[in-house]
């Protein structure tokens, strides 16, 4: 209490800089007067009386100093003084400060933005759910390592058999066709267990959530919960929405509630609009056997950990429960174990797709920030050396080592702080931009990123780290300074600072790594638009349909596709039409299948795999992929032909050593197919990929619920076909929506979206970094040259040409730069070979980037060198 009171008084005194030295002065005067009078009375001479008084009193100035430090808080006073001083110093060098603050802001801004994306994926997998950290993924796992999901009956059993999990929640993602005949809209929703909303701890924004009895028996209550966005966009946020009916998959459902605003479902990164009880599955999915068939593993499970229980306990109990199920129901559960995992370890789903890419991006951005720090350190060091004299005076006047360090530190920290605030502002802008960005893909991806406390803490930590890093060099330099040297020295003693040169080298090396990474990325992005996909996307319209609401079987799927194709081909503007299960260059990639092919014996362990797509006859015509040998698939209604397959050239090259392919048998896990044709290689997953083995199956043999319609127009104006395609589908089935209608070119653009964000970052950051490196080098060289004015003058006097002087200066500095660049290059090269392009060297990048960087570096050396060489030798010698 006493301590606190005193501390506050002192803090107040420090902050207000209240100087009442007057009082002390008067007290001392009085004291001395009284003591002197006393001494005079004792019989001393006036002079002696005063001398004795002063002796007794002790050092007045030392006492005053003690008094002042008792009055205020010297630490705080020094800090405030340093900060004031720092602000003044920064104000006096607006250009340099602007470069430093801006470059730091950009470095910290991009890092914070990328971090906010990563932390959204890793740490806040379920937006709107406050206790998301207590939820674990409960994933059945097959012996071969696949994660098949759980069946409904399995879920019911697990609910009671894993006591470490207080609640287990089941859900399955389903596409819903919402609306009246002819105007249906396709939306994604989840079929969920009755405890879904209560276990997640959600409060409805409006109305209520499911009652337990509403998810007990199949098909009891036709109720549905809509998302906040859905309520806002489709019902204009009207409060009367509760109780209204919506038609979903041809069933009337009553809206009972609206989910909270942030909530978007329980699959990270995906946004759902509707939630219906899982018991509605048979009604909504055309009589599916989801609820009674143990082999239909349609549900995903998450569990809420009981307070005090650990993941390990839950894992053990889950394993036991799965083993029991495998014993009880061997035909459906044999060989299936399970894992209880944190969300960020999700073995499947969209977050897996993004996280590794983002991690690399973050790494590159951190390197960039490090390069910015190196640059700043260099600039500060160059400035620090011009302040040698100032520091020497300070040391001579009694400033301790820590005072000097704190002076340098407060200056740099102030710069770092400014950079951090600006960077955080940039990050806020960046994350908002991403939130707004339309994420159209086969699935409704949605990022809910924002700059929250953790992200802000990350930005501040980065700022502090940067401040410390670029303070270290100047601080070390200045405290090692001998004050005598500093005071005496004029520019005739050029101290060759090794630190500066090493820093310059390091900076150039880092810049090299980042620039190469940026260039590789941009190059791959640019080539995406320019390289030939080896099929013809122009003039092709894509559209998707989905029969999953109908619970169709193979023959109805096949028949639907056959009829659809007949109708489409009869349209006058359609040159060719086909249906396929996958579209090349999709964000999610095309699946690969394992197989064995007649005539090939695999020597190493594992299985041969190839990309697989299932297509109808006519596909190769639409895509303009020539068949090199053999024929197209048999017609859809052909019942005589055996199961067929078409392979691509790379398949023949890799797996058949170029031997005749036609007539051979391919076996997959489920069936056997005869190769009837060889198609030319084309691009499947990404532009610039090396040729991949692929095989095509026929829709006739492997019909699917979902299909991507591919149409090639005669006129070349593919968008004009949209309404005709819609009309055709409406004719065939009025309740079935056509979705994802886009031209093939749009499809490609859209799926490059995720790569476009970092590409834009690099477009801005690459030149910026190059500019920074140039400024850094320029500063160092011009400083070094300024220190050697006299030496240069002497050389010129003795007949050196200015050309020679310039050359020598450039050579000296370029040596270090080349070393740094070479090391950076080697690092980038090794990483690229091993991790990114896997053996393929992008020569233009690995030659071009160093050439540009060294060119810029030479220029940055040349300008100050040339200026120095042009001085009048006499003036240089007279200097000082």
């Amino acid at each position: 209490m006493r301590f606190l009171k005193r501390f506050l008084t002192r803090l107040f005194n420090s902050a207000s800089r209240r100087a009442n030295d007057e009082r002390l002065r008067e007290e001392i005067a009085e004291h001395i007067a009284l003591q002197t009078a006393e001494n005079l009375r004792a019989g001393l001479s006036p002079v002696e009386a005063r001398r004795q008084t002063m002796l007794k009193f002790g050092g007045v100035e030392a006492m005053k100093q003690d008094y002042r430090s008792e009055r205020g808080l010297p630490f705080v006073e020094n800090l405030l003084g340093d900060l004031r001083n720092a602000a003044r110093t920064i104000f006096r060098m607006p250009g340099l400060a602007a470069v430093i603050v801006l470059s730091l802001a950009i470095g910290i801004g991009v890092n914070t933005t990328v971090f906010s994306w990563i932390q959204t994926i890793l740490l806040q997998p379920l937006p709107g759910v406050s206790g998301a950290a207590n939820f674990l993924l409960v994933e059945p796992r097959m012996e071969i390592g696949a994660y098949p999901g759980a069946s409904w009956l399995e879920y019911r059993a697990l609910q009671t058999q894993v006591p470490a999990l207080r609640e287990v929640v089941a859900f399955q993602m389903v596409p819903f066709n919402v609306g009246e005949k002819g105007q249906t809209e396709r939306t994604f929703g989840q079929l969920v267990s009755g405890n879904y909303f209560s276990a997640l701890g959600l409060k409805p924004a409006l109305g209520r959530f499911f009652r337990p009895e509403e998810a007990q028996r199949p098909g009891t209550e036709p109720v549905i919960v809509v998302s906040y966005d859905y309520w806002q966009t489709r019902f204009r946020g009207e409060p009367g929405v509760v109780g209204q009916k919506v038609r979903v998959n041809e069933r009337d459902l009553v809206i009972i509630g609206v989910a909270p605003r942030e909530f978007q479902g329980t699959i990270p990164l995906l946004k759902f609009e509707l939630w219906a009880p899982a018991t509605m599955a048979p009604a909504l999915l055309g009589g599916t056997r989801d609820l009674e068939d143990r082999s239909v593993r349609a549900f995903s499970l998450i569990g809420l950990l009981r307070p005090g229980a650990t993941r390990e306990e839950a894992q053990a109990e889950f394993t036991t429960a799965m083993a029991q199920l495998a014993r009880d129901y061997p035909e459906a559960s044999a060989g299936i174990g399970g894992e209880v995992l944190e969300f960020w370890k999700a073995p499947r789903g969209p977050q897996r797709l993004l996280i590794s890419g983002l991690a690399i991006l973050q790494g590159v951005m951190l390197l960039l920030l490090l390069a910015v720090c190196g640059n700043t350190a260099n600039l500060m060091l160059a400035r620090g050396s011009t302040r040698q004299r100032e520091m020497a005076v300070r040391v001579a006047l009694g400033a301790g080592r820590w005072r000097i360090i704190s002076l340098v530190l407060s200056e740099n920290m102030l710069l770092a702080l400014l950079g951090t605030s600006l960077g955080a502002a940039l990050a806020v802008w960046g994350t908002t931009a991403l939130r707004m960005a339309p994420m159209i893909a086969a699935f409704p991806i949605r990022f809910q990123t924002r700059v929250d406390a953790l992200t802000l803490a990350f930005a501040i930590a980065l700022g502090i780290a940067c401040g410390l890093i670029f303070s270290a060099a100047p601080a070390l330099y200045l405290i090692r300074l001998d004050p005598q040297d500093g005071l005496r020295s004029t520019s005739n003693t050029p101290p060759r600072s090794r630190a500066r040169k090493v820093l310059m080298g390091v900076e150039v090396g880092l810049a090299m790594v980042v620039l190469i990474a940026a260039a590789l990325f941009l190059d791959s992005f640019r080539s995406a638009r320019q390289t030939d996909p080896k099929f013809q996307p122009e003039g092709v319209l894509l559209a998707a349909y989905d029969l999953s609401g109908r619970n169709p079987d193979d023959s109805s799927e096949r028949e639907f596709a056959a009829r659809l194709l007949e109708r489409l081909r009869s349209l006058p503007d359609v040159e060719a039409a086909a249906i396929a299960t996958n579209v090349p260059l999709d964000l999610h990639g095309i699946p690969a299948r394992s197989f064995t092919v007649q005539g090939r014996v695999r020597t190493e362990a594992g299985q041969d795999r190839a990309i697989s797509n299932t297509v109808t006859p006519g596909y190769f015509k639409v895509m303009a992929i020539p068949l090199i040998e053999g024929n197209d698939f048999a017609e859809m209604r052909d019942k005589a032909a055996p199961p067929q397959a078409i392979v691509n050239e790379e398949f023949v090259r890799r797996y058949l050593n170029g031997a005749e392919a036609i007539g051979r048998q391919i076996k997959t896990r489920t069936a056997s197919f005869t190769i009837i044709g060889v198609a030319r290689d084309s691009v499947y997953d990404a532009f610039g990929e090396s040729p991949q083995p692929a095989f095509y199956f026929s829709y006739r043999d492997l019909p699917a619920m979902q299909g991507e319609i591919h149409l090639r127009t005669r006129s070349g104006n593919e968008t004009a076909l949209t309404s005709e395609v819609r009309a055709v589908l409406r004719d065939l089935d009025p309740m079935l929506p056509l979705y994802d209608v886009r031209t093939f070119s749009q499809h490609i653009e859209r799926n490059l979206y995720l790569r476009r964000i970092p590409a834009r970052m690099f477009v801005v950051l690459g030149p910026l970094l190059l500019g920074l490196a140039a400024i850094g080098i320029y500063a160092v060289v011009s400083y070094a040259v300024a220190r050697r004015t006299r030496e240069i003058g002497v050389r010129l006097t003795f007949g050196a040409t200015s050309g020679r002087v310039v050359l020598q200066i450039i050579r000296e500095n370029l040596g270090v730069i080349t070393w740094g660049a070479a090391i950076g290059w080697a690092v980038a090269f090794v990483i690229s070979i091993h991790a990114i392009t896997k053996g393929v060297v992008n020569l233009p990048v690995f030659i071009g980037v160093p050439a540009i960087l060294l060119g810029v570096a030479t220029l940055a050396c040349w300008i100050p060198a040339r200026r120095a060489s042009r001085i009048d030798p006499m003036a240089a010698l007279r200097h000082e």
Binding site: R10, L24, E27, E30, K56, A62, M63, Y67
Partner: protein
Amino acid sequence: MKQKADVLQGTLALMVLKTLDVLGPLHGYGIARRIEQISGDLLAVNQGTLYPVLLRLEQEGAIASDWGASENNRKARFYRLTREGRKQLQAETQDWQQTAAIIARFFNAKAEDLS
């Protein structure tokens, strides 16, 4: 030659408090004189060191000060004990006496008492 004892800061504060307790309001010089007289010149105190201690005690609220007139009618600052200061003095006096008593007992103890 007998060395003059160093004065710990806390001790000096205690002396100031005791002086003010006994003599009532007093100016800085008066306090210094008094401490000198009582300690019999054994303490090596520069009179100046008194002032930071006075400031600290005032900030802690143990003493308060006002301007007044000194004996030769000059303006002088007079310090007086506050209620809090009196409490502090009592507590510290007790502490001090206890410490002194323990130390004294140690010095008086004979070898057999310790075995």
